[in-house]
Symmetry: C2
């Protein structure tokens, strides 16, 4: 159920991003707020950060600093939207493969950022819970990104 | 994990709503978009709609038409924000009690809006999955409602 929800959200984001032009993605989602490009980079970097939790290398490490650690409009040298679209597609595609390869039991094992001691006390800090929290996180920003589309 | 996520989202929404004044909730979250009051009513009505899926009566049936079936700003007679705040508090409080009373096994039974035939084919259409999808739905609008707070 959680993996279905993740895949559905990824597809929803993918569809929205494909419907937005590069120009639209350069706009702020609301006055004074994050731009579309920032949210796309942010969501790509956060999806990318799932890889290490499952025991894999990140694919888009270079996005973490500008799109997660740095607020929007505080760094001048963001990659172009066209490049970000490619990063997003690569991350979501490979991530889907890696997620599909995880066995049911494995989802309930601890993710790599939790110590054995903590996991013994808090067994909900497992791999599946990371995906669960990321589903919701995508939706949080989807609601904002959607403002870049003209009002129907 | 899903119930923890639901409770955390409810608390997050609750905190945000308590930090927003009635005047702030009367504002649009972005130019031409839904007002805070509409999103509060919408999220209350959708939380309320979980009751029947668990076999209980709705507590705020009167909110469904103006806040779910009707778009914002197309009906003149919305309840005052103060009343909506009370509805929200009542719904979230009673819902938390009802949710806590559901047994683990019961969560994986079909919700009342699914037929036996469909459920046999699609066992993920269970009660827990309703909560899962609502967690994400709350986050979708939380990301928008948060725009009513002054930018830090």
């Amino acid at each position: 159920m959680v993996l279905d929800a993740w895949n559905a959200k990824v597809n929803q984001l993918d569809k929205l991003v494909s419907e937005l032009s590069d120009e639209q993605l350069m706009q702020e989602v609301a006055p004074g707020r994050n731009r579309g490009i920032y949210l796309l980079g942010h969501l790509t970097a956060l999806a990318d950060s799932i890889f290490p939790l499952l025991g894999h290398e990140k694919l888009a490490l270079h996005l973490f600093n500008p799109f997660v650690l740095t607020p929007d409009k505080q760094t001048g040298d963001l990659p172009p939207v066209s490049e970000l679209r490619q990063d997003w597609t690569k991350v979501k595609t490979v991530l889907a493969e890696k997620i599909a390869a995880v066995s049911p039991d494995e989802w309930f094992q601890k993710h790599t950022a939790v110590s054995e001691e903590d996991f013994a006390k808090e067994p909900h800090r497992n791999k599946l819970n990371v995906i669960l929290s990321r589903v919701s996180h995508v939706d949080y920003h989807l609601g904002q990104l959607q403002f870049l589309k003209p009002k129907q």
